[in-house]
Point group: C2
Chain length 1020, copies 2
């Protein structure tokens, strides 16, 4: 048993550990930073080609994590221990895990997991891919392959480890809260830091003066610019840090709106980019001194963990002549769930095709995998490719042989080029001509050789949404590849398929479950491979794991008379987070059940991937005070003790802290009615030129009022919509929403009900955010619809007027989504709407002048979204364009019209309808003048008949924009039209006759006005 370490000993132990690993030990930065990453020892040193290995403590200040010292592990200041390894030493996960052992954490006693967590700092223009490391459900470390900083791609990539020291101490010391962590033999963390938590929380949430902080921000930014103008990298970086901290405080005060946030991030990112570029220039000018420095002493990484010894090259030996099994394992660091699924899907499709292309006969192809491995298994693979016979066409026979039948130069040349004698050529008839041909037979090569050549390409062809690089091979993958196993055959006769990829040499060595010794071992062939992994409890197939998880969680829930709500996404995700799923049931205090159900479930699922537990047969609204977690541990043998108490304890601690946090927020929030949050919206900038969120809410209310007739609201609905408009943004100022933005609207509804608002008002607050994404539900009530539309109209007209229209693929204010929501709502509700007038009304409330050009741009922008929506619904572009040119300003009408038009086009008599109309249009569409029709001017009966039919048609009642109505009144015109054109010369030399007839046709063409322009239709 290692003695329990106190907090300061944890730090000193890590310092010693990493110093021994060759890291320089550095100190915390002299500025308030949100993370150790912002210390120039990371933010700048990761840039450029120079090696850099460093470790340091960093007190990290995150104002909005302040909890007045009341949360067990959430504080406005926590201590990080930051490590940078540049370049990747090849085994950073293993070194990291050894550091946990140095701290006395026995990994065999715990559930240690690498859970996807990608990291991005919009302010620093930095991102990386990696994981949260979970210790019994608790995030104790952020592990990132740092890909970009200051907007600059990193080469080489740095490994960044960020230990959360309090979390580790809580786990090591088995205490319930940061307050109880033993810091030194005499004092606890609470003794020395509690007061700071209380006071700084109060300062950040209640006291900090928004106006003064804004001024500070501007001053800091101006100084950063002044420094950059002089090429001063570090002073500029310091001021960016000050900007960033000031921003964080403003944000905690709830004073930064969505759009302002983007603007400030953009400004900081731009500064960071300039700093990064200046730093890189500087290092280049200095000729990269650290590249020389490393000569002094090599980092000690290699010393600790022996590299994998692979067979260097495969020697062609006696594989059996018959079919052999083939196994290839790509050993990786933990793949994200989505990437694992994507890779498995791709390989399942690709590998059989590839083998066919390679003319390798084979039996079953089985693709399996876990977060740590992708496995391809092929049974009965032919040892050799099938032979290939190809006929190659040469010159025409008459040119290959002369009249005497002797080969010409051309003939001889062709034979020579194929390595054949003239006698080997054959004359064949091809496409009606006669040609000399060569038949070339390609003998099948051994599978071993062919696979050696194609496997690198196969691996490289796996595509992921987000890719990363990690070593000098510059190969990109979802996560680093750490070993490659490729074997043909079984047992003594098996052979390594030898190739190199991503800096690795393939071989027969694999790795089992983490922490089971030996960490690495060779296998003789597929049989041993599958046996040994199964022996460790690894379930290679995702379906196996899903079933195992479902069985376990169902059983564990059943033991407490509960059931698991059906949630296939969560099940699939959890099953792909582990190699050996082991369900564990934890509990939490029933007092937390008073929190809104959405909050509890959000917290359990989003943060912890826990299954919530409902009462058996009870109402679906209830929850039991349990959760089911799924650890990555082999299940104990039947009857053996679970030995998982420590893991359950850890998980319970985590969820307790999470719920305490939510509880803190909700409790604080309901201290006052929702309406009382409105004044705070005045500090929450929507966008600099467009004022605060309070201003926005007021505009929404005014717009609801203006547009009430369009929304077709009755009196009660209008009253509810007015109230909902007033309150719709109020929850943005509540703690719970500041913390979990995804609960906006949800909390608004909850708090509104809590404040005694009408249910319709509460629902409208929730619904005005709908739809949140394509395919999301729409508002169910008229007031919700009205507020949501008004909100979106205001955003779009305002942002365009402020010169912030999206450009290229930049859409920082998510205006595409806004416009799509607008369109989807109108279509869904089939609400006829005059967008142009509505936008005009919206513009009238703006604090700035919306130019006619900007208004036109918004209309075009919405029309483009509408077009995309309709296209994605499967309508052909010609129908869509025909309708939109006529009624893009009314999405519901347009959608209806396209639907109708699409039906007409499908009609069997369409080829009689369209031509009849088209004849009327084609002959008149170039005319600039509109001719009056005089009944007296008709001289032929056909034209008179047509005119009468037209008058009848025009007299029919029609819905504006209705394509059906148009065609229904048009159908009777078809015979008279056809007769007209058969009998009457429109382009009479008599001007009066001509103009009268053209006028008649113009009137017919105009029947479709406002519905569609049929000229856009194919076949017009």
């Amino acid at each position: 048993m290692t003695q329990l370490l106190n907090f300061q000993s944890i730090i000193m132990t890590l310092q010693n550990f990493w110093a021994e690993q060759g890291c320089m030990i550095w100190q915390p930065y002299y500025s308030q930073v949100g993370a150790g990453t912002m210390n120039p020892a990371t933010a700048l040193r990761v840039l450029g080609p120079e090696p850099w290995n460093v470790a340091y403590v960093e007190p990290s200040i995150r104002p909005d994590d302040g909890r007045y010292g009341e949360n067990p592990n959430r504080m406005q200041m926590h201590y990080q221990f930051q490590v940078i390894l540049k370049p990747d030493p090849g085994n950073p996960q293993e070194i990291y895990l050894k550091s946990l052992e140095a701290l006395g954490i026995d990994p065999r006693q715990h559930d240690i997991r690498f859970v996807e967590d990608n990291w991005e700092s919009p302010a620093l223009g930095a991102w990386g891919l990696g994981w949260e490391v979970w210790l019994d459900g608790q995030e104790i470390t952020q592990f990132t392959y740092f890909q970009q900083a200051g907007g600059v791609a990193l080469d080489p990539v740095s490994v960044e480890l960020t230990y959360g020291l309090e979390r580790i101490a809580i786990a090591l010391q088995g205490v319930g809260s940061f307050r109880d962590i033993q810091w030194s033999p005499a004092l606890t963390d609470g003794d020395v830091n509690l007061q700071a938590e209380q006071e700084h929380s109060k300062y950040y949430f209640e006291i900090a003066d928004v106006e003064r902080l804004r001024q500070m921000y501007d001053l800091f930014e101006a100084e950063a610019n002044a420094c950059l103008a002089q090429g001063l990298v570090l002073p500029a970086h310091d001021y960016i840090l000050k900007c960033s901290h000031t921003f964080n405080v403003l944000d905690t005060r709830g004073a930064v709106g969505v759009t302002e946030r983007q603007a400030l991030f953009g400004r900081m990112r731009e500064l960071s980019r300039r700093v990064a570029e200046a730093y890189l220039e500087q290092r280049q000018r200095l000729e990269y001194p650290f590249i020389k420095e490393t000569g002094r002493e090599r980092p000690a990484f290699e010393k600790n963990i022996a590299p994998i010894q692979q067979e260097s090259t495969s020697v062609q030996t006696s594989l059996g002549n018959g079919p052999q099994p083939f196994l290839c394992e790509i050993g990786v660091e933990e793949l994200p769930v989505g990437d694992l699924q994507a890779a498995l899907g791709y390989l399942r499709g690709r590998l059989p095709v590839l083998l066919d292309e390679l003319r390798l006969e084979h039996g079953a192809v089985e693709i399996s995998g876990t977060p740590r491995r992708l496995v391809m298994f092929v049974s009965d693979l032919a040892p050799l490719q099938a032979d290939l016979e190809q006929v190659i066409k040469g010159p025409p026979a008459e040119r290959a042989f002369d009249a005497s039948g002797q080969p010409t130069q051309a003939g001889l040349g062709f034979a020579r080029s194929k390595g054949l004698a003239m006698s080997d050529l054959q004359v064949r008839e091809i496409d009606g001509g006669r040609y000399v041909t060569a038949v070339v037979r390609q003998v099948g090569r051994p599978a071993l050789q062919v696979l050696t050549e194609v496997l690198p390409g196969l691996i490289a062809s796996i595509k992921f949404d987000k890719i990363m690089r990690w070593n000098s091979s510059n190969v990109a993958f979802s996560r680093p590849i750490r070993w490659l196993l490729a074997l043909i055959g079984e047992g003594q006769a098996s052979e390594v398929v030898s190739f190199e990829y991503a800096g690795l040499q393939s071989g027969r060595i694999t790795r089992g479950l983490r922490f089971i010794e030996p960490a690495e071992f060779p296998v003789s062939g597929p049989q041993e491979y599958f046996n040994r992994l199964a022996g460790q409890g690894i379930l290679l197939y995702d379906i196996q794991r899903r079933e195992a998880v479902l069985e376990q969680v169902t059983r564990l829930a059943g033991e407490v008379q509960g059931v698991i709500p059906d949630d296939p996404d969560l099940l699939a995700e959890v099953a792909n987070l582990v190699e050996t799923p082991a369900g564990l049931r934890g509990s939490f205090s029933a007092t937390h059940l008073s929190l809104p159900r959405e909050v509890l479930i959000s917290v359990m699922k989003k943060y912890q991937r826990y299954f919530p537990v409902q009462p058996e047969g009870g109402q679906a609204d209830g929850l039991l005070p349990y959760f089911i977690a799924v650890a990555n541990k082999p299940l104990p043998a039947e009857g053996a003790p679970l030995g998982a108490e420590v893991v359950i304890d850890g998980n319970q601690h985590v969820i307790r802290a999470r719920f305490a946090d939510a509880n803190f927020f909700v409790r604080e929030d309901i201290c006052r009615p929702l309406a009382d949050y409105l004044p705070r919206l005045a500090h929450l900038t929507f966008q600099a030129k467009l004022g605060s969120m309070l201003d926005k809410a007021r505009r929404i209310r005014a717009l609801v009022h203006d547009l009430a007739p369009q929304f077709e609201l009755n009196d009660q609905e209008l009253a509810d919509a007015h109230r909902a408009a007033e309150l719709c943004k109020a929850d943005l100022a509540t703690y719970m929403v500041v913390e979990m933005t995804s609960l906006q609207g949800t909390m608004g509804r909850y708090y509104a009900l809590n404040s005694g608002e009408r249910e319709a008002v509460a629902n409208a607050i929730y619904e005005h955010y709908l739809p949140r994404f394509t395919g999301d539900q729409l508002p169910r009530s008229k007031p919700g619809l009205a507020v949501g539309l008004a909100d979106r109209l205001d955003s779009l007209s305002g942002l365009f007027a402020a010169g912030l229209a999206p450009s290229g693929n930049k859409d920082p204010f998510a205006q595409r989504r806004t416009a799509l929501g607008l369109v989807a709502s109108l279509i869904g509700w089939e609400l006829n709407f005059d967008l142009s007038a509505a936008l005009q009304a919206a513009a009238s409330h703006l604090p700035l002048q919306a130019s006619p050009e900007s208004q036109a741009s918004v209309r075009t922008f919405i029309a483009e979204r509408l077009r995309n929506v309709l296209l994605e619904q499967g309508f052909h572009y010609d129908l869509v364009d025909a309708v939109l040119v006529a009624q893009s300003g009314n999405p519901a009408g347009a959608a209806r019209a396209v639907r109708q038009l699409s039906n007409w086009v499908e009609r069997s008599d369409w080829n009689t309808i369209l031509p009849a109309y088209a004849r009327c249009v084609r002959i008149t569409r170039e005319l600039e003048q509109r001719f009056p029709v005089e009944e007296a001017g008709f001289i032929e009966k056909e034209e008179r008949a047509l005119y009468e039919a037209l008058l009848t048609a025009e007299a029919q009642p029609r819905s504006p924009g209705s394509v059906d109505d148009f065609f229904n009144v048009f159908l009777p015109l078809i015979p008279p039209i056809n007769r007209f054109f058969d009998s009457v010369l429109v382009m009479s030399e008599d001007l009066r006759l001509r103009q009268n007839r053209l006028g008649l046709l113009q009137r017919i063409a105009a029947l479709a006005s406002g519905a569609a322009d049929m000229a856009y239709l194919e076949g017009f």
Copy 2:
């Protein structure tokens, strides 16, 4: 041999060392701080009664120490290692020295010294007494007994240790510059920090925007106030730190003038005070939790160093009957030079008197001492006090005995009260009466007993300028007392004089030279004491040490054909810095000799207490590239190797860095002519309401112009004074003066000459600061005088007009010194001056309105200073007051008049002169009307004669204000005055006669007008 530690190992070693000592290991603060003291782990935790032991690294940011990375050990950022021990563990020096050994520093190989250095932070309202710890001349640690923080006296006192980590690393690794310090096995300090030094230096000195920083300062201050209004201690403290750093940057930009500095310090101090008070309240409210915490585990200090074992109480045993030697040693931590001298002087005077008061006969009294001990030795001390016989007077004899000679009740009562029988009483004649008397004999008590009682009081009666407390005894002394030795007698028969003081028990244990084992040892008596100390090379008498130092430095200088400039102050100081002086000669590069001599000498003396070396017989202006340092090490035996190379090396490194620093400043400064610094004065605020130093210089120039006639300047002098006025403040913007303010004027002269200014101008720039203190030299040139007077007139009239007159004993702008300088200059130059007009002229140039009241206040303030000057010159107050009431507006005249008046008063015929004049004054002084004299109105010859004598007197030419001239014309009037009063009735009943006679006397009284008002004289 300990392996050389790299920088990070030094830190980790200190962390481990102090953790083992029971200190909590803390982290650097997240804010730019000038010192670890500002970390709340010190600044706040030292307050209040709770124990607190902590250690941490602190990167300390001092913008004005930035040297662009060019100085070997001066940087804008250096690393401190800070330790707080609260309460004092009793042996902090010893623990500290052990920490140096843990770092591999063998104290026997080096010269380790505790050199007085008191610490004060005006911004934090904090101060403490202690030392710089020198390692071979290099300051490596600041060691402070922290007495006050945030304006609050500390109880208990904290011990504060601040290691300078780069200095230690430079010494340990034997490198020449911070750039070469090995930080980790792979990297140097230069590798990781040089760029930061270059960039931040440039930022702080050249780029930082003064206007923006001022705005930041105000914003930070406002936030601090907002926090305090809510009782938030730590957030308020954070903003004070930001104020402080911002102030430091402004200061480095040269943007803070003397008066503005005071104002800003005052504001920060006030904030600090409020923070301290709020913190104390908070801890009290929390019921001082750390007082309970300590119960958990006692700090480990005691474990390491065994406490001194003293004989607990002295048992009265057989001291010989004859006279015995007496020895008392007060063992202290290193006393400051001034305190050592003061204590020795006091004891030399006090001890013999005390022994006499105690009726203890004694031989020679010898007082000696070193920085670590005060020693009292008395030879042949009587073992017993002399007996005392007292005669006590009782009732008169006739009341003590009745007529029959029998004792009365009164007689019996008296006898009983003295414990005597009636027969023991004697009747004696006292003061002409007969009384019964009792003769009481007091038998002398043993010296041992008497001394036990008085020694504590004797020690307590030693007074020091600055005193400190260190432990719970709350005794105050110059530095902590750590042991007490007090013995009577020699050898076997010696006895401890047993008493307790300052938490210590006296005994027979002493300590020798540091680092010689055993650290503590008992002595049998004075003889062994003196022998053993002498055997270690300790010279107990300061005169011995002075002689030894002088001999050594003279010899060492002579070896390089040099001599030491006569400097008794330096000699006395150096001799009192050591117990065992050992002179060492170091050298420096001759290139530094191009620096101004004043700079070189200032640097050597002020910072290092080195003796500079002049060439033998050469011009006094020259210097040789050597210095003599005096270490505290026993000289090696004759012929043995000095073994001091490492000490010399260390000292040479220090002076090299110091000169490099001065060189850096001067080189930068002379890049441009002095006049080019003027624009920078615009950023240097003199005082907020009074504008910049540039404004001030312009006012001085204008005032010189206005007052040129009063200054009696000729044309060339006026031109020079104008130019000097323009330039007089320019050197304040130079690096050298910003660094060493004491060189203001000196550098101005140097740079002016360097810029091609006239020598008279350069001299005037230097001289305008004269006199800098009472007794300092005066300006030698008229232009220097004129500029100096104008400067002072501007300061006084301006500051008073701005409402900043000194009040009580607060004089932050040193206006007393300013006024004294003004007065001294005028008197010294005997320049008649119209202060009132001059102040009026000064006021006319101010940027604000000077009210008549403020102008009157200035005049009064100057007059008070003038009065004090004259009183201190020994003139009797009546003479001074008589003159000042007449001519306080002309100090030179007033001084002359007082001198003259003092001579007249000494004259033997003074008693005829004053009464004659007084008669004329007394009879007229109550009159409110002034009567005209009409010659025709005189009817008596005596009054006519007096009138004629008056006319003659009035016709004599006289200097304004001259007392001599007054008396000389008055003397002939005395006989006629006396005759007049004898014969003429002034107060005639005839109104016309009476008024004419009174008018005559009024004319006589008025003769003294403008010289003095004789009515103030004694005997008037």
